[in-house]
């Protein structure tokens, strides 16, 4: 297990370094001069040169790269020359918002997927099971931003039950927080829930055809009882794999959903920063997203070994 963990950590580090190089140089390749954007039209060449020197964007790229990349391990993202603020506290603020959104959405998605997926598997020949399967198919086909827009049109603009957008921190006014987080979480979770329902269903169906389950049944356990006692743990391995992949997809989905619902998370920070050519902020936000994705993979790998002793021994 130790070697397995070590291999993973090395892979983590190498991926991260490659990502810094890619992010940094891709950002420099797109057209747009930060100094020109900061000064706008009518700026004289002298002012532009002065501002570039102030921003440090007139230095060789390689110097700029190391200046930035070497600060990352210490969590020092630098000072944005657009907002003139230290980036680190801003990112910490935004990360919390995005994580609340993503984790809530994942929980709700699982709360939808596990019972419905299991039910659809157990009743896969019944009309009710087939209906669940069909509805989830529909959910898979809808992009979450579309789900978000439709939810706003119906529940906020049409019925007026919920606010259309905005964000209140949970510590400030918990009721308002729930009201505002409800639709975006639902938009993210309904699509994720549909995808996961299909995976839970097929995983459970596969487990149900295993010999050990038939043995359990023959010992006198009921269908549901045998499944819960012997089946779910085995079915959870493929579901966990998909959940981790989907968690990464959910973070990407949150970028768009934050825009639709005007939520001040990492996604809206990223989009604003791209528009303003706030290169340091874009790079830093992307690296935080990369780190979150890599950490999820690392954690899931550890979870495998806990759930399945065979993986522990195999390593």
């Amino acid at each position: 297990m130790g070697i397995r963990l070590l291999t993973n950590l090395v892979r983590f580090a190498v991926t991260y370094v490659i990502a810094t190089v890619a992010v940094f140089f891709f950002m420099r390749a797109i057209p747009g001069d930060p100094a020109q954007i900061a000064l706008g039209v009518n700026a004289s060449p002298e002012l532009l040169a002065k501002t570039r020197a102030e921003f440090g964007t007139d230095r060789p790229l390689i110097v700029q790269y190391f200046d930035w990349a070497l600060g990352l391990p210490a969590g020092n993202f630098g000072t944005s020359y657009v907002t003139r603020q230290d980036i680190s506290p801003l990112i910490i603020d935004r990360v919390q918002v995005s994580l609340i959104l993503v984790v809530l959405a994942m929980l709700v998605a699982l709360l939808i997927a596990v019972p419905f997926g299991t039910y659809a598997a157990v009743k896969h020949r019944n009309p009710s099971g087939i209906i669940i399967s069909g509805v989830s198919q529909l959910g898979v086909a809808i992009p979450n931003f579309l789900a978000g827009i439709l939810l706003v049109v119906v529940f906020a603009v049409g019925l007026g039950w919920l606010p259309a957008n905005g964000w209140t921190p949970p510590g400030e006014d918990f009721g308002d927080f729930l009201a505002r987080v409800f639709l975006p979480v639902l938009a993210l979770a309904s699509v994720q829930g549909a995808i996961l329902t299909r995976y839970v269903r097929s995983a459970v169906m596969e487990v149900m055809s295993e010999d050990y389950l038939r043995t359990a049944r023959s010992k006198g356990l009921g269908k549901l009882e045998s499944l819960v006692k012997h089946g779910l743990r085995n079915a959870s391995i493929p579901v966990l794999t998909v959940t981790s992949v989907q968690l990464a997809a959910l973070i990407i989905g949150a970028v768009v959903i934050e825009r639709v619902f005007v939520i001040p998370g990492l996604g809206s920070m990223l989009l604003d920063a791209v528009g303003n050519r706030d290169l340091l902020t874009v790079q830093s936000v992307v690296m935080v997203l990369v780190a979150i994705t890599l950490i999820i993979n690392l954690v899931v790998d550890v979870l495998y070994t806990i759930l399945d002793p065979r993986i522990r021994k195999g390593a």
């Binding site: 907002t83 603020q85 007026g160 919920l162 905005g166 819960v228 639709v260 809206s268 604003d272 706030d278």
Partner: protein
């Protein structure tokens, strides 16, 4: 057995959880739409959040829109009709061959950090614009100031290098903002001015909260708190208005959404004017638009009223020249180049430019995409095939069109106030207009008396239009949608400021 219990608990939690969520949210959703704070606060929705609070170093309309008139004040201000009115100066006199302005300053005004406003602050602020501390391109508007003399705490004499009509107007815009010497350490994050509001909180990515200052020198604003909430696009703003989260949507950029509000008595729609011109640019330095006849053909080829009607639902004013209706030298110049496709075709034939292929660089802004489609179809009618190339705004557009001037035709909303000379009296500007005919005229007009200024500028503008330097499609409207009970909304956007002080409730 314990596993089974867990499973059931999980399912129960799911049901209860979703019920709790629904219950809580339904309750507070109702609260926020019927908010009890309605009479003491107003929430205004805008698109495009300021990146920081420092307009002395950062361009863009968002920062002065939020801060001028509200947090920062100048010696004078520009009213809704475009006229200059006293603000921190009670009155002023001209002497020394119209070169020296002696301002009598208001007594008892203070900055939000408690410091008193005096003539020293005026001197400090103007000299700061001229120093390296300001890196905004607008700073050149203060180049004309020769000296600032402090006569007493309440009197300051400002001497210009030559008489200028434009300068006093500029003093009512952001370059005229008065700062306190001890309040400029963190302009990007802290705004300290003499205005009626101070910034209570800035929730980045969401809103700026303004609170009334109790020690404000002038009449207190009608409401105690104003919140400017920032959205990514127009649809999000009207959604927020309909669900009751905001009270006013200012400078609405999506007129196709208006129909549902116009017919609903719960809302008011204001069709104000702005100082922004939608300018269809033709690169005067590049073929085929280096030929006057080709530019004139474009002027005749485009039915500007049809552009407004199609692209912007009929909102906006067709004027025929690059001057907003609130400027003193405005006149209707629609007759210079009336819509006449036959004439356009004959001009193109004369120039030997039939079946012309051009590239039309369109910035990624709602107005630009809306305008470009109908412009392209009208150009096609006279034999100009314009190929649309999209340019991300501002980054790519500034780079390609503005800086490198590598374009043939483009369209942009020019938002600076009284910017006709900035656009056309500079041959290096991206429009590439040869200013030899207007340069001296413009200088004479600026130094003349007020009547001479207006007449001279009219002549300048007429020359620019005759030369078909650019096609001003229409003056951009300032559309406001608000709850019917909101009063005191400044419908016209005459300078960059959005004056919040009169907002209130019926």
């Amino acid at each position: 057995m314990s596993a089974k219990k867990n499973y059931c608990r999980l399912a129960a939690a799911a049901v209860v959880g979703s019920l709790v969520l629904t219950a809580c949210s339904a309750g507070s959703g109702g609260n926020s739409s019927e908010g009890s704070a309605e009479n003491t606060s107003v929430t205004v929705a805008l698109t495009g959040e300021p990146v920081n609070l420092d307009f002395t170093t950062t361009a863009g309309a968002a920062i002065p829109q939020a801060l001028m008139s509200n947090v920062y004040e100048g010696l004078v201000e520009i009213d809704q009709a475009g006229k200059i009115q006293p603000l921190l100066a009670e009155s002023w006199e001209l002497s020394n061959g119209n070169k020296t302005y002696t301002f009598k300053l208001r007594e008892g005004a203070t900055f939000s950090n408690g410091e008193a406003f005096t003539a020293e602050d005026v001197k400090f602020s103007i000299e700061r614009v001229q120093s390296d501390a300001w890196v905004s391109s607008l700073k050149k508007k203060m180049d004309i100031v020769d000296s600032v003399e402090v006569n007493s705490d309440t009197e300051v004499a400002i001497t210009l290098k030559q008489p200028s009509n434009a300068w006093l107007f500029d003093m009512g815009t952001l370059v005229g903002a008065i700062f306190d010497p001890s309040g400029v350490d963190d302009l990007a994050g802290t705004a300290i001015g003499t205005g009626p509001y101070e910034i209570d909180a800035w929730n980045r990515g969401q809103s700026i909260e303004f609170a009334t200052r109790e020690d404000y020198w002038g009449e207190a604003p009608t409401v105690e708190n104003v919140s400017l909430r920032y959205f990514a696009d127009a649809v999000a703003t009207t959604n927020a208005l309909q669900s009751g989260d905001v009270d006013v949507v200012y400078n609405m950029q999506s007129p196709e959404l208006l129909s549902s509000f116009e017919s609903d008595g719960k809302y008011q729609v204001l069709d104000g004017t702005s100082n922004g011109e939608i300018v269809l640019s033709m690169n005067n330095n590049m073929a085929p638009f280096d030929d006057l006849r080709v530019r004139q053909a474009v002027m005749h080829a485009i039915d500007r009223q049809a552009v407004v009607d199609t692209a912007w639902n009929g909102y906006g004013t067709v004027v025929g020249g690059p001057v907003p209706t609130t400027d003193p030298y405005y006149e209707d110049l629609n007759d210079v180049y009336p819509y006449d496709p036959a004439k356009a075709e004959s001009l193109l034939a004369e120039a030997g430019a039939q079946d012309l292929d051009i590239t039309f660089t369109v910035p990624t802004r709602p107005y630009a995409t809306a305008v470009s489609e109908i412009v392209v179809s009208q150009l096609a009618d006279v034999g100009i095939n314009a190929k649309i190339e999209s340019a991300e705004f501002p980054a790519v557009w500034l780079d390609e069109v503005f800086t490198k001037q590598d374009y043939q035709m483009s369209v942009v909303l020019a938002v600076e106030s009284r910017d006709v000379l900035a656009m056309f009296n500079n041959p290096d500007y991206y429009l590439g207009y040869d200013n030899s005919k207007i340069k001296d005229l413009a200088a004479e007009a600026d130094a003349a008396d007020e009547a001479g200024y207006v007449d001279g500028m009219k002549q300048v503008v007429r020359t620019i239009v005759d030369d078909a330097a650019a096609n001003t499609l229409f003056i951009f409207p300032n559309i406001v949608v608000a709850k019917a009970e909101v009063t005191g909304i400044p419908a016209n956007s005459v300078t960059e400021a959005l004056d919040l002080t009169n907002l209130g409730w019926k």
